[in-house]
Amino acid sequence: MLRLWNLILFELRKILNNKKAFLFLIVLNITPIIASLALLIAYISCKSLGLGDFQFLAMKRIIQAMFTSHFTIFGYTAPFFLALIVGDSFSTEFGRGYMKTLLLTPVRRWQVIVAKTSSIIIFLLIAVLLGGFILQADLFIARAITQPSGVLPNPLQEKLMDTSISMVSVSSAFQLLVITFVANLMMIGFFIVFSMFFESAILMTFCSIGSVMAIHVFYLSAFMLKELVKWFGPLEKLCFTRHFTDLFSLNIIQNVLDGSVTILSEKVLEPMGFSLLWAVIFYVLAVIIFSRKQVLH
Protein backbone atom coordinates (compact mmCIF):
# COMPACT_ATOMS: atom_id res chain seq x y z
CA MET A 1 0.00 0.00 0.00
CA LEU A 2 2.86 2.31 0.90
CA ARG A 3 4.49 1.48 -2.43
CA LEU A 4 1.30 2.41 -4.31
CA TRP A 5 1.02 5.66 -2.37
CA ASN A 6 4.66 6.50 -3.15
CA LEU A 7 4.02 5.68 -6.80
CA ILE A 8 1.00 8.03 -6.89
CA LEU A 9 3.08 10.82 -5.32
CA PHE A 10 5.90 10.15 -7.79
CA GLU A 11 3.51 10.30 -10.75
CA LEU A 12 1.98 13.53 -9.45
CA ARG A 13 5.48 14.94 -9.02
CA LYS A 14 6.26 14.03 -12.63
CA ILE A 15 3.11 15.76 -13.90
CA LEU A 16 3.72 18.90 -11.86
CA ASN A 17 7.37 18.92 -12.88
CA ASN A 18 6.26 19.16 -16.50
CA LYS A 19 5.95 22.68 -17.89
CA LYS A 20 2.99 21.51 -19.93
CA ALA A 21 1.06 20.99 -16.69
CA PHE A 22 1.21 24.69 -15.82
CA LEU A 23 0.21 25.59 -19.34
CA PHE A 24 -2.75 23.23 -19.04
CA LEU A 25 -3.81 24.83 -15.77
CA ILE A 26 -3.82 28.25 -17.43
CA VAL A 27 -5.59 27.08 -20.58
CA LEU A 28 -8.21 25.04 -18.74
CA ASN A 29 -8.94 28.06 -16.54
CA ILE A 30 -9.09 30.60 -19.31
CA THR A 31 -12.80 31.27 -18.54
CA PRO A 32 -12.23 32.21 -14.88
CA ILE A 33 -9.34 34.41 -15.97
CA ILE A 34 -11.56 36.18 -18.52
CA ALA A 35 -14.26 36.41 -15.81
CA SER A 36 -11.93 38.48 -13.69
CA LEU A 37 -11.53 40.95 -16.54
CA ALA A 38 -15.28 40.98 -17.16
CA LEU A 39 -15.78 41.77 -13.50
CA LEU A 40 -13.61 44.86 -13.82
CA ILE A 41 -15.52 46.04 -16.90
CA ALA A 42 -18.86 45.44 -15.14
CA TYR A 43 -17.71 47.43 -12.14
CA ILE A 44 -16.62 50.40 -14.23
CA SER A 45 -19.77 50.30 -16.40
CA CYS A 46 -22.16 50.08 -13.45
CA LYS A 47 -20.36 52.70 -11.38
CA SER A 48 -22.57 55.47 -12.79
CA LEU A 49 -25.62 53.75 -11.28
CA GLY A 50 -24.27 54.58 -7.87
CA LEU A 51 -26.01 51.64 -6.22
CA GLY A 52 -23.64 49.06 -4.77
CA ASP A 53 -26.34 46.38 -4.56
CA PHE A 54 -27.15 46.53 -8.24
CA GLN A 55 -23.51 46.63 -9.15
CA PHE A 56 -22.85 43.49 -7.06
CA LEU A 57 -25.90 41.74 -8.51
CA ALA A 58 -24.74 42.43 -12.07
CA MET A 59 -21.28 41.18 -11.25
CA LYS A 60 -22.58 38.07 -9.51
CA ARG A 61 -24.76 37.20 -12.50
CA ILE A 62 -21.74 37.54 -14.78
CA ILE A 63 -19.59 35.35 -12.55
CA GLN A 64 -22.26 32.68 -12.16
CA ALA A 65 -22.83 32.57 -15.90
CA MET A 66 -19.08 32.29 -16.31
CA PHE A 67 -18.99 29.38 -13.87
CA THR A 68 -21.60 27.43 -15.83
CA SER A 69 -19.87 28.11 -19.12
CA HIS A 70 -16.47 27.35 -17.54
CA PHE A 71 -17.68 23.98 -16.43
CA THR A 72 -19.23 23.15 -19.81
CA ILE A 73 -16.20 24.34 -21.77
CA PHE A 74 -13.97 22.47 -19.34
CA GLY A 75 -15.98 19.32 -19.95
CA TYR A 76 -15.56 19.59 -23.71
CA THR A 77 -11.92 20.64 -23.80
CA ALA A 78 -10.54 18.50 -20.97
CA PRO A 79 -10.41 15.30 -23.12
CA PHE A 80 -7.89 16.94 -25.48
CA PHE A 81 -5.62 17.79 -22.57
CA LEU A 82 -6.26 14.46 -20.92
CA ALA A 83 -5.18 12.65 -24.08
CA LEU A 84 -1.91 14.60 -24.04
CA ILE A 85 -1.27 13.97 -20.34
CA VAL A 86 -2.09 10.26 -20.65
CA GLY A 87 0.14 10.14 -23.73
CA ASP A 88 2.95 11.72 -21.74
CA SER A 89 2.41 9.34 -18.83
CA PHE A 90 2.37 6.15 -20.90
CA SER A 91 3.43 6.50 -24.56
CA THR A 92 6.29 8.93 -23.89
CA GLU A 93 7.49 6.81 -20.99
CA PHE A 94 7.52 3.71 -23.19
CA GLY A 95 9.51 5.61 -25.82
CA ARG A 96 12.01 7.22 -23.46
CA GLY A 97 12.60 4.17 -21.31
CA TYR A 98 11.19 5.60 -18.05
CA MET A 99 8.65 2.79 -18.01
CA LYS A 100 11.43 0.22 -18.18
CA THR A 101 13.13 1.74 -15.13
CA LEU A 102 9.79 1.84 -13.32
CA LEU A 103 9.09 -1.81 -14.10
CA LEU A 104 12.49 -2.86 -12.80
CA THR A 105 11.24 -1.90 -9.35
CA PRO A 106 8.92 -4.27 -7.47
CA VAL A 107 5.71 -2.53 -8.57
CA ARG A 108 2.93 -4.45 -10.24
CA ARG A 109 1.70 -3.33 -13.62
CA TRP A 110 -1.85 -2.70 -12.43
CA GLN A 111 -0.38 -0.47 -9.72
CA VAL A 112 1.29 1.62 -12.43
CA ILE A 113 -2.08 2.13 -14.15
CA VAL A 114 -3.84 2.96 -10.88
CA ALA A 115 -1.09 5.39 -9.81
CA LYS A 116 -0.95 7.19 -13.13
CA THR A 117 -4.74 7.46 -13.30
CA SER A 118 -4.94 8.75 -9.73
CA SER A 119 -2.31 11.39 -10.36
CA ILE A 120 -4.05 12.56 -13.55
CA ILE A 121 -7.42 12.71 -11.76
CA ILE A 122 -5.84 14.67 -8.88
CA PHE A 123 -4.32 17.08 -11.41
CA LEU A 124 -7.66 17.44 -13.16
CA LEU A 125 -9.51 18.09 -9.91
CA ILE A 126 -6.87 20.69 -9.02
CA ALA A 127 -7.63 22.38 -12.36
CA VAL A 128 -11.40 22.37 -11.68
CA LEU A 129 -11.00 23.59 -8.11
CA LEU A 130 -8.59 26.28 -9.21
CA GLY A 131 -11.22 27.63 -11.63
CA GLY A 132 -13.84 27.54 -8.89
CA PHE A 133 -11.54 29.33 -6.45
CA ILE A 134 -10.69 32.04 -8.98
CA LEU A 135 -14.40 32.69 -9.62
CA GLN A 136 -15.20 32.61 -5.91
CA ALA A 137 -12.36 35.07 -5.28
CA ASP A 138 -13.86 37.31 -7.99
CA LEU A 139 -17.12 37.24 -6.10
CA PHE A 140 -15.42 38.23 -2.83
CA ILE A 141 -13.68 41.08 -4.61
CA ALA A 142 -17.00 42.17 -6.17
CA ARG A 143 -18.62 42.27 -2.74
CA ALA A 144 -15.71 44.17 -1.27
CA ILE A 145 -15.73 46.88 -3.92
CA THR A 146 -19.52 47.32 -3.98
CA GLN A 147 -20.85 48.50 -0.65
CA PRO A 148 -24.59 48.10 0.16
CA SER A 149 -26.40 51.29 -0.86
CA GLY A 150 -28.59 51.58 2.20
CA VAL A 151 -31.44 52.86 -0.01
CA LEU A 152 -33.58 49.79 0.61
CA PRO A 153 -34.16 48.47 4.13
CA ASN A 154 -32.00 45.38 4.75
CA PRO A 155 -34.78 42.70 5.03
CA LEU A 156 -36.40 43.88 1.79
CA GLN A 157 -33.04 44.06 0.05
CA GLU A 158 -32.31 40.41 0.97
CA LYS A 159 -35.68 39.32 -0.39
CA LEU A 160 -35.31 41.19 -3.66
CA MET A 161 -31.71 40.44 -4.35
CA ASP A 162 -29.35 37.53 -3.96
CA THR A 163 -26.70 39.08 -1.77
CA SER A 164 -25.05 35.78 -0.82
CA ILE A 165 -21.36 35.77 -1.53
CA SER A 166 -21.23 32.00 -2.20
CA MET A 167 -21.14 31.28 -5.87
CA VAL A 168 -22.49 27.74 -5.59
CA SER A 169 -23.68 25.66 -2.68
CA VAL A 170 -21.26 23.13 -1.18
CA SER A 171 -23.59 20.34 -2.22
CA SER A 172 -23.68 21.48 -5.88
CA ALA A 173 -19.91 21.92 -5.93
CA PHE A 174 -19.41 18.40 -4.56
CA GLN A 175 -21.83 16.91 -7.10
CA LEU A 176 -20.09 18.68 -9.95
CA LEU A 177 -16.78 17.23 -8.76
CA VAL A 178 -18.29 13.73 -8.73
CA ILE A 179 -19.57 14.22 -12.29
CA THR A 180 -16.13 15.46 -13.39
CA PHE A 181 -14.45 12.49 -11.72
CA VAL A 182 -16.68 9.80 -13.23
CA ALA A 183 -16.84 11.24 -16.74
CA ASN A 184 -13.11 11.83 -16.95
CA LEU A 185 -12.27 8.45 -15.43
CA MET A 186 -13.97 6.86 -18.42
CA MET A 187 -12.06 9.06 -20.87
CA ILE A 188 -8.73 8.47 -19.15
CA GLY A 189 -9.37 4.71 -19.31
CA PHE A 190 -10.04 4.98 -23.04
CA PHE A 191 -6.87 7.00 -23.61
CA ILE A 192 -4.78 4.56 -21.54
CA VAL A 193 -5.90 1.66 -23.74
CA PHE A 194 -4.83 3.71 -26.78
CA SER A 195 -1.51 4.77 -25.25
CA MET A 196 -0.42 1.11 -24.93
CA PHE A 197 0.07 0.99 -28.70
CA PHE A 198 2.11 4.18 -29.16
CA GLU A 199 5.48 5.51 -28.12
CA SER A 200 4.75 9.13 -29.01
CA ALA A 201 2.31 11.25 -27.01
CA ILE A 202 1.43 13.48 -29.97
CA LEU A 203 0.71 10.57 -32.29
CA MET A 204 -1.33 8.87 -29.59
CA THR A 205 -3.31 12.08 -28.96
CA PHE A 206 -4.17 12.58 -32.64
CA CYS A 207 -5.25 8.99 -33.06
CA SER A 208 -7.27 8.75 -29.86
CA ILE A 209 -8.99 12.13 -30.28
CA GLY A 210 -9.68 11.24 -33.91
CA SER A 211 -11.31 8.03 -32.71
CA VAL A 212 -13.36 9.85 -30.08
CA MET A 213 -14.57 12.33 -32.71
CA ALA A 214 -15.39 9.54 -35.16
CA ILE A 215 -17.36 7.64 -32.50
CA HIS A 216 -19.29 10.76 -31.54
CA VAL A 217 -20.04 11.78 -35.11
CA PHE A 218 -21.34 8.27 -35.69
CA TYR A 219 -23.51 8.61 -32.60
CA LEU A 220 -24.89 11.96 -33.78
CA SER A 221 -25.78 10.59 -37.18
CA ALA A 222 -26.97 7.18 -35.96
CA PHE A 223 -30.40 8.44 -34.85
CA MET A 224 -31.31 8.89 -38.54
CA LEU A 225 -29.20 6.16 -40.05
CA LYS A 226 -30.56 3.45 -37.76
CA GLU A 227 -33.92 3.88 -39.48
CA LEU A 228 -32.25 2.87 -42.75
CA VAL A 229 -29.72 0.29 -41.53
CA LYS A 230 -30.78 -1.87 -38.60
CA TRP A 231 -27.36 -2.66 -37.11
CA PHE A 232 -26.73 1.06 -36.56
CA GLY A 233 -29.11 0.84 -33.59
CA PRO A 234 -27.04 -1.57 -31.44
CA LEU A 235 -23.84 0.17 -32.49
CA GLU A 236 -25.20 3.51 -31.33
CA LYS A 237 -25.50 2.08 -27.81
CA LEU A 238 -21.77 1.38 -27.81
CA CYS A 239 -20.91 5.04 -28.41
CA PHE A 240 -19.60 5.82 -24.94
CA THR A 241 -18.96 9.47 -25.84
CA ARG A 242 -22.68 10.21 -25.51
CA HIS A 243 -22.50 9.66 -21.73
CA PHE A 244 -19.70 12.17 -21.50
CA THR A 245 -21.58 14.85 -23.46
CA ASP A 246 -24.75 14.08 -21.49
CA LEU A 247 -22.96 14.68 -18.19
CA PHE A 248 -21.38 17.93 -19.33
CA SER A 249 -24.48 19.35 -21.05
CA LEU A 250 -25.33 22.92 -20.09
CA ASN A 251 -28.78 21.80 -19.04
CA ILE A 252 -27.53 19.27 -16.47
CA ILE A 253 -24.92 21.61 -15.03
CA GLN A 254 -27.44 24.41 -14.61
CA ASN A 255 -29.91 22.02 -12.98
CA VAL A 256 -27.27 20.73 -10.57
CA LEU A 257 -26.29 24.30 -9.74
CA ASP A 258 -29.83 25.44 -9.04
CA GLY A 259 -30.50 22.26 -7.06
CA SER A 260 -33.36 21.00 -9.25
CA VAL A 261 -31.33 17.89 -10.11
CA THR A 262 -28.91 15.83 -8.03
CA ILE A 263 -26.46 13.14 -9.04
CA LEU A 264 -28.98 10.61 -7.76
CA SER A 265 -31.63 11.80 -10.24
CA GLU A 266 -32.19 9.44 -13.16
CA LYS A 267 -31.12 12.12 -15.60
CA VAL A 268 -27.61 12.14 -14.11
CA LEU A 269 -27.39 8.70 -12.57
CA GLU A 270 -27.91 6.87 -15.87
CA PRO A 271 -25.04 8.48 -17.82
CA MET A 272 -22.90 8.27 -14.67
CA GLY A 273 -23.62 4.56 -14.28
CA PHE A 274 -22.79 3.87 -17.92
CA SER A 275 -19.64 5.98 -17.68
CA LEU A 276 -18.52 3.92 -14.69
CA LEU A 277 -19.27 0.71 -16.57
CA TRP A 278 -17.22 1.88 -19.56
CA ALA A 279 -14.44 2.97 -17.22
CA VAL A 280 -14.31 -0.55 -15.73
CA ILE A 281 -14.22 -2.08 -19.23
CA PHE A 282 -11.42 0.25 -20.36
CA TYR A 283 -9.33 -0.34 -17.23
CA VAL A 284 -9.67 -4.12 -17.38
CA LEU A 285 -8.65 -3.95 -21.04
CA ALA A 286 -5.73 -1.66 -20.22
CA VAL A 287 -4.47 -3.98 -17.44
CA ILE A 288 -4.71 -7.03 -19.73
CA ILE A 289 -2.86 -5.29 -22.57
CA PHE A 290 -0.23 -3.80 -20.26
CA SER A 291 0.47 -7.10 -18.50
CA ARG A 292 1.22 -8.67 -21.88
CA LYS A 293 3.07 -5.71 -23.31
CA GLN A 294 6.71 -6.17 -24.22
CA VAL A 295 8.74 -3.26 -22.88
CA LEU A 296 11.57 -3.07 -25.38
CA HIS A 297 12.99 0.42 -24.82
Partner: protein
Protein backbone atom coordinates in the same frame (compact mmCIF):
# COMPACT_ATOMS: atom_id res chain seq x y z
CA UNK B 1 23.59 -28.25 -5.75
CA UNK B 2 20.17 -27.51 -4.26
CA UNK B 3 17.87 -24.85 -5.72
CA UNK B 4 18.64 -22.47 -2.86
CA UNK B 5 22.31 -22.42 -3.90
CA UNK B 6 21.48 -20.82 -7.22
CA UNK B 7 21.13 -17.10 -7.69
CA UNK B 8 19.62 -17.69 -11.14
CA UNK B 9 18.14 -20.81 -12.62
CA UNK B 10 16.73 -20.80 -16.14
CA UNK B 11 15.05 -23.94 -17.48
CA UNK B 12 14.02 -24.52 -21.09
CA UNK B 13 13.32 -20.86 -21.76
CA UNK B 14 11.78 -20.41 -25.18
CA UNK B 15 10.93 -17.18 -26.97
CA UNK B 16 9.94 -16.32 -30.51
CA UNK B 17 9.56 -12.92 -32.13
CA UNK B 18 7.21 -13.65 -35.01
CA UNK B 19 8.71 -16.62 -36.86
CA UNK B 20 12.19 -16.06 -35.47
CA UNK B 21 13.33 -18.20 -32.57
CA UNK B 22 15.25 -15.97 -30.18
CA UNK B 23 15.61 -18.35 -27.25
CA UNK B 24 15.71 -22.03 -28.07
CA UNK B 25 14.94 -23.85 -24.81
CA UNK B 26 17.78 -22.13 -23.01
CA UNK B 27 19.08 -23.65 -19.77
CA UNK B 28 21.63 -22.26 -17.39
CA UNK B 29 22.18 -21.58 -13.75
CA UNK B 30 24.37 -19.19 -11.83
CA UNK B 31 25.58 -20.06 -8.32
CA UNK B 32 25.19 -17.60 -5.45
CA UNK B 33 28.11 -15.32 -4.59
CA UNK B 34 29.46 -15.48 -8.14
CA UNK B 35 30.30 -12.67 -10.50
CA UNK B 36 28.92 -14.22 -13.64
CA UNK B 37 29.38 -13.00 -17.20
CA UNK B 38 26.68 -13.62 -19.78
CA UNK B 39 28.33 -13.78 -23.17
CA UNK B 40 27.18 -14.23 -26.71
CA UNK B 41 27.48 -12.58 -30.10
CA UNK B 42 24.97 -9.95 -31.25
CA UNK B 43 21.51 -11.44 -31.55
CA UNK B 44 22.38 -14.41 -29.35
CA UNK B 45 19.43 -13.65 -27.07
CA UNK B 46 21.22 -12.11 -24.07
CA UNK B 47 19.07 -9.00 -23.67
CA UNK B 48 15.88 -10.96 -24.35
CA UNK B 49 16.86 -13.39 -21.58
CA UNK B 50 17.54 -10.53 -19.16
CA UNK B 51 14.25 -8.81 -20.08
CA UNK B 52 12.34 -12.03 -19.47
CA UNK B 53 14.15 -12.53 -16.17
CA UNK B 54 13.12 -9.07 -15.05
CA UNK B 55 9.55 -9.23 -16.33
CA UNK B 56 9.94 -6.64 -19.09
CA UNK B 57 8.86 -9.34 -21.51
CA UNK B 58 6.11 -11.80 -20.60
CA UNK B 59 7.67 -14.60 -18.58
CA UNK B 60 6.49 -18.19 -19.01
CA UNK B 61 5.49 -19.98 -15.84
CA UNK B 62 8.19 -21.64 -13.73
CA UNK B 63 10.98 -21.33 -16.29
CA UNK B 64 12.97 -18.75 -14.37
CA UNK B 65 13.96 -18.80 -10.74
CA UNK B 66 15.70 -15.83 -9.12
CA UNK B 67 17.07 -16.26 -5.59
CA UNK B 68 14.61 -19.10 -5.15
CA UNK B 69 11.59 -17.05 -6.31
CA UNK B 70 9.72 -18.56 -9.22
CA UNK B 71 8.63 -16.17 -11.94
CA UNK B 72 6.22 -14.70 -12.88
CA UNK B 73 4.29 -15.41 -9.65
CA UNK B 74 6.98 -14.18 -7.26
CA UNK B 75 8.23 -11.38 -9.49
CA UNK B 76 7.77 -8.55 -7.00
CA UNK B 77 9.30 -10.55 -4.13
CA UNK B 78 12.27 -11.35 -6.34
CA UNK B 79 12.70 -7.74 -7.49
CA UNK B 80 12.77 -6.55 -3.89
CA UNK B 81 16.03 -8.50 -3.54
CA UNK B 82 17.44 -7.69 -6.98
CA UNK B 83 18.97 -4.60 -8.52
CA UNK B 84 18.94 -4.30 -12.29
CA UNK B 85 20.04 -2.13 -15.18
CA UNK B 86 18.92 -3.11 -18.67
CA UNK B 87 20.62 -1.44 -21.64
CA UNK B 88 20.80 2.35 -21.30
CA UNK B 89 19.32 3.39 -17.97
CA UNK B 90 16.61 6.05 -18.26
CA UNK B 91 15.58 8.39 -15.51
CA UNK B 92 13.53 11.58 -15.45
CA UNK B 93 15.50 14.19 -17.39
CA UNK B 94 14.23 17.14 -15.38
CA UNK B 95 15.08 15.65 -11.97
CA UNK B 96 18.52 15.59 -10.41
CA UNK B 97 20.49 12.41 -9.72
CA UNK B 98 19.51 12.64 -6.06
CA UNK B 99 15.80 13.22 -6.76
CA UNK B 100 15.68 10.39 -9.29
CA UNK B 101 17.18 7.98 -6.78
CA UNK B 102 14.88 9.29 -4.05
CA UNK B 103 11.70 8.82 -6.08
CA UNK B 104 12.55 5.60 -7.85
CA UNK B 105 14.10 4.26 -4.65
CA UNK B 106 10.89 4.92 -2.71
CA UNK B 107 9.29 2.15 -4.76
CA UNK B 108 11.49 -0.46 -3.08
CA UNK B 109 11.16 0.48 0.56
CA UNK B 110 11.25 3.69 2.63
CA UNK B 111 14.23 5.65 1.37
CA UNK B 112 17.25 5.96 3.56
CA UNK B 113 18.67 9.33 2.52
CA UNK B 114 22.18 8.55 3.71
CA UNK B 115 22.12 5.42 1.51
CA UNK B 116 21.35 7.64 -1.53
CA UNK B 117 24.47 9.68 -0.84
CA UNK B 118 26.44 6.50 -0.17
CA UNK B 119 25.59 4.92 -3.56
CA UNK B 120 26.12 8.21 -5.41
CA UNK B 121 29.52 8.39 -3.78
CA UNK B 122 30.19 4.72 -4.53
CA UNK B 123 29.76 5.22 -8.30
CA UNK B 124 31.73 8.45 -8.33
CA UNK B 125 28.89 10.89 -9.03
CA UNK B 126 29.23 12.96 -5.87
CA UNK B 127 29.80 16.19 -7.76
CA UNK B 128 26.77 15.59 -9.96
CA UNK B 129 24.37 14.87 -7.09
CA UNK B 130 22.21 17.88 -7.84
CA UNK B 131 22.74 17.92 -11.58
CA UNK B 132 19.73 17.11 -13.80
CA UNK B 133 19.81 13.68 -15.38
CA UNK B 134 19.12 15.24 -18.80
CA UNK B 135 22.57 16.86 -18.75
CA UNK B 136 24.45 13.62 -17.94
CA UNK B 137 26.95 12.01 -20.32
CA UNK B 138 26.46 8.37 -21.35
CA UNK B 139 29.00 7.19 -18.80
CA UNK B 140 27.36 9.18 -16.01
CA UNK B 141 23.98 7.72 -16.94
CA UNK B 142 25.42 4.21 -16.69
CA UNK B 143 26.87 5.03 -13.28
CA UNK B 144 23.57 6.40 -12.04
CA UNK B 145 21.90 3.24 -13.31
CA UNK B 146 24.28 1.16 -11.22
CA UNK B 147 23.74 3.47 -8.23
CA UNK B 148 19.98 2.97 -8.58
CA UNK B 149 20.37 -0.80 -8.73
CA UNK B 150 22.43 -0.74 -5.51
CA UNK B 151 20.13 1.53 -3.54
CA UNK B 152 18.24 -1.19 -1.66
CA UNK B 153 21.31 -3.37 -1.00
CA UNK B 154 20.32 -6.14 -3.40
CA UNK B 155 21.51 -9.72 -3.04
CA UNK B 156 21.71 -10.08 -6.82
CA UNK B 157 22.70 -7.48 -9.37
CA UNK B 158 21.65 -8.00 -13.00
CA UNK B 159 23.40 -5.69 -15.43
CA UNK B 160 23.07 -5.47 -19.17
CA UNK B 161 26.21 -4.03 -20.79
CA UNK B 162 27.12 -1.93 -17.74
CA UNK B 163 30.17 -0.39 -19.41
CA UNK B 164 28.65 0.37 -22.81
CA UNK B 165 29.46 3.90 -23.92
CA UNK B 166 32.18 4.30 -21.29
CA UNK B 167 35.76 5.32 -21.96
CA UNK B 168 38.63 2.99 -20.85
CA UNK B 169 39.07 4.84 -17.55
CA UNK B 170 35.35 4.59 -16.86
CA UNK B 171 35.44 0.86 -17.59
CA UNK B 172 38.25 0.29 -15.13
CA UNK B 173 36.38 2.33 -12.50
CA UNK B 174 33.17 0.42 -13.14
CA UNK B 175 35.05 -2.85 -12.73
CA UNK B 176 36.43 -1.64 -9.43
CA UNK B 177 32.97 -0.52 -8.31
CA UNK B 178 31.48 -3.92 -9.07
CA UNK B 179 34.32 -5.82 -7.39
CA UNK B 180 33.97 -3.55 -4.38
CA UNK B 181 30.22 -4.17 -4.15
CA UNK B 182 30.76 -7.91 -4.49
CA UNK B 183 33.30 -7.91 -1.70
CA UNK B 184 31.67 -5.46 0.69
CA UNK B 185 27.99 -6.22 0.27
CA UNK B 186 28.31 -9.88 -0.76
CA UNK B 187 26.21 -9.21 -3.84
CA UNK B 188 26.03 -11.83 -6.58
CA UNK B 189 26.46 -10.20 -9.98
CA UNK B 190 25.21 -11.34 -13.36
CA UNK B 191 26.26 -9.14 -16.26
CA UNK B 192 26.07 -9.35 -20.00
CA UNK B 193 28.89 -7.88 -22.03
CA UNK B 194 30.65 -7.94 -25.36
CA UNK B 195 33.94 -7.00 -23.76
CA UNK B 196 35.56 -10.36 -23.18
CA UNK B 197 38.72 -9.05 -21.56
CA UNK B 198 36.56 -7.12 -19.09
CA UNK B 199 34.58 -10.24 -18.30
CA UNK B 200 37.75 -12.28 -17.86
CA UNK B 201 39.15 -9.71 -15.44
CA UNK B 202 35.91 -9.34 -13.49
CA UNK B 203 33.99 -12.59 -13.59
CA UNK B 204 34.65 -15.93 -12.01
CA UNK B 205 31.75 -17.64 -13.77
CA UNK B 206 30.52 -17.40 -17.36
CA UNK B 207 27.55 -18.47 -19.41
CA UNK B 208 28.09 -18.39 -23.17
CA UNK B 209 25.12 -18.57 -25.49
CA UNK B 210 24.57 -18.37 -29.22
CA UNK B 211 21.38 -18.42 -31.30
CA UNK B 212 19.33 -18.73 -28.14
CA UNK B 213 21.09 -21.85 -26.87
CA UNK B 214 23.75 -22.35 -24.24
CA UNK B 215 27.17 -23.22 -25.58
CA UNK B 216 28.89 -23.58 -22.26
CA UNK B 217 28.80 -22.43 -18.68
CA UNK B 218 31.01 -22.83 -15.69
CA UNK B 219 33.78 -21.26 -13.64
CA UNK B 220 36.23 -19.33 -15.81
CA UNK B 221 39.18 -21.31 -14.48
CA UNK B 222 37.50 -24.59 -15.48
CA UNK B 223 36.55 -23.35 -18.92
CA UNK B 224 40.00 -22.03 -19.70
CA UNK B 225 41.78 -25.13 -18.52
CA UNK B 226 41.91 -27.79 -21.20
CA UNK B 227 44.08 -30.67 -22.30
CA UNK B 228 46.24 -28.29 -24.27
CA UNK B 229 48.95 -25.82 -23.42
CA UNK B 230 49.95 -22.90 -25.60
CA UNK B 231 53.54 -21.81 -26.03
CA UNK B 232 55.44 -19.34 -28.11
CA UNK B 233 58.76 -20.78 -29.29
CA UNK B 234 61.31 -18.19 -30.32
CA UNK B 235 64.15 -19.25 -32.59
CA UNK B 236 66.57 -17.44 -34.87
CA UNK B 237 65.39 -16.63 -38.41
CA UNK B 238 67.72 -19.11 -40.08
CA UNK B 239 66.31 -22.03 -38.05
CA UNK B 240 62.66 -21.33 -38.80
CA UNK B 241 62.28 -23.88 -41.59
CA UNK B 242 64.12 -26.63 -39.72
CA UNK B 243 62.20 -26.01 -36.52
CA UNK B 244 58.94 -26.23 -38.42
CA UNK B 245 59.90 -29.61 -39.88
CA UNK B 246 60.87 -30.96 -36.46
CA UNK B 247 57.68 -29.76 -34.81
CA UNK B 248 55.55 -31.21 -37.61
CA UNK B 249 57.30 -34.53 -37.14
CA UNK B 250 56.40 -34.55 -33.41
CA UNK B 251 52.69 -35.07 -34.07
CA UNK B 252 52.12 -36.99 -30.87
CA UNK B 253 52.77 -33.95 -28.66
CA UNK B 254 52.42 -30.92 -30.96
CA UNK B 255 48.79 -30.42 -31.89
CA UNK B 256 49.06 -27.32 -34.03
CA UNK B 257 51.68 -24.91 -35.28
CA UNK B 258 51.16 -21.27 -36.22
CA UNK B 259 53.88 -19.01 -37.57
CA UNK B 260 54.58 -16.04 -35.29
CA UNK B 261 56.83 -12.96 -35.86
CA UNK B 262 59.83 -14.44 -34.02
CA UNK B 263 59.11 -18.16 -34.22
CA UNK B 264 55.95 -20.22 -33.69
CA UNK B 265 52.90 -20.49 -31.48
CA UNK B 266 52.18 -24.13 -30.74
CA UNK B 267 49.43 -26.07 -29.00
CA UNK B 268 50.94 -28.87 -26.97
CA UNK B 269 49.66 -31.81 -24.96
CA UNK B 270 49.73 -31.01 -21.24
CA UNK B 271 53.13 -31.25 -19.55
CA UNK B 272 55.07 -31.78 -22.76
CA UNK B 273 56.83 -28.45 -23.17
CA UNK B 274 60.08 -29.81 -21.74
CA UNK B 275 60.01 -32.63 -24.32
CA UNK B 276 59.61 -30.15 -27.19
CA UNK B 277 62.50 -28.16 -25.84
CA UNK B 278 64.60 -31.30 -25.57
CA UNK B 279 63.82 -32.38 -29.15
CA UNK B 280 64.71 -28.98 -30.55
CA UNK B 281 67.94 -28.70 -28.53
CA UNK B 282 68.99 -32.21 -29.51
CA UNK B 283 68.43 -31.27 -33.15
CA UNK B 284 70.87 -28.40 -32.66
CA UNK B 285 68.33 -25.60 -32.72
CA UNK B 286 69.06 -22.72 -30.42
CA UNK B 287 65.78 -22.13 -28.58
CA UNK B 288 65.85 -18.46 -27.59
CA UNK B 289 62.69 -18.65 -25.51
CA UNK B 290 59.80 -20.93 -24.65
CA UNK B 291 57.01 -18.65 -23.42
CA UNK B 292 53.79 -20.09 -21.93
CA UNK B 293 50.66 -18.33 -23.25
CA UNK B 294 47.57 -18.10 -21.11
CA UNK B 295 44.40 -19.11 -22.92
CA UNK B 296 41.98 -16.21 -23.10
CA UNK B 297 38.22 -16.20 -22.82
CA UNK B 298 38.18 -14.55 -26.20
CA UNK B 299 39.75 -17.58 -27.85
CA UNK B 300 37.31 -19.92 -26.13
CA UNK B 301 34.43 -17.65 -27.06
CA UNK B 302 35.52 -17.46 -30.70
CA UNK B 303 35.98 -21.21 -30.90
CA UNK B 304 32.57 -21.86 -29.41
CA UNK B 305 30.62 -19.30 -31.37
CA UNK B 306 32.34 -20.15 -34.65
CA UNK B 307 31.52 -23.79 -34.23
CA UNK B 308 27.85 -22.87 -33.94
CA UNK B 309 25.09 -23.51 -31.51
CA UNK B 310 25.18 -27.26 -31.90
CA UNK B 311 28.70 -27.54 -30.55
CA UNK B 312 29.24 -28.38 -26.93
CA UNK B 313 32.73 -28.46 -25.61
CA UNK B 314 32.83 -29.19 -21.96
CA UNK B 315 31.90 -32.36 -20.21
CA UNK B 316 28.88 -30.63 -18.70
CA UNK B 317 27.64 -29.99 -22.20
CA UNK B 318 26.79 -33.61 -22.82
CA UNK B 319 24.44 -33.40 -19.90
CA UNK B 320 23.16 -30.08 -21.22
CA UNK B 321 22.34 -31.58 -24.63
CA UNK B 322 20.43 -34.41 -23.07
CA UNK B 323 18.62 -32.05 -20.69
CA UNK B 324 17.66 -29.71 -23.52
CA UNK B 325 16.36 -32.55 -25.64
CA UNK B 326 14.35 -33.78 -22.70
CA UNK B 327 12.91 -30.37 -21.90
CA UNK B 328 12.14 -29.75 -25.58
CA UNK B 329 10.30 -33.01 -25.77
CA UNK B 330 8.52 -32.14 -22.53
CA UNK B 331 7.44 -28.78 -23.98
CA UNK B 332 6.13 -30.37 -27.13
Amino acid sequence: MSNSDYAIKVTALHKMFGDKTVLDYLNFSVPKNAIAGFLGPNGAGKTTTLRMMLGLLPTPRDKIELLGHKLPGDRTSALERIGAVVENPSFIDTLSAYENLKWFGSLYKPVNYSRIHEVIDMVGLKEATNQNFGTFSTGMKQRLGVAFSLLHKPELLILDEPTSGMDPVGRVQMREILLNIHEKEKTSIFLSSHLLDEVQKLCNYVVIINKGRRLTEGYVSDILSSNEEHYEIRVSDDSIERTKNILEAAQNIVKSITLAPRGFVVDLENDTSHLVNEILVKAGIKVQALIPLEQSLEETFMKLTNKGSNTFVSSTETTQTTKEKESKEGEK
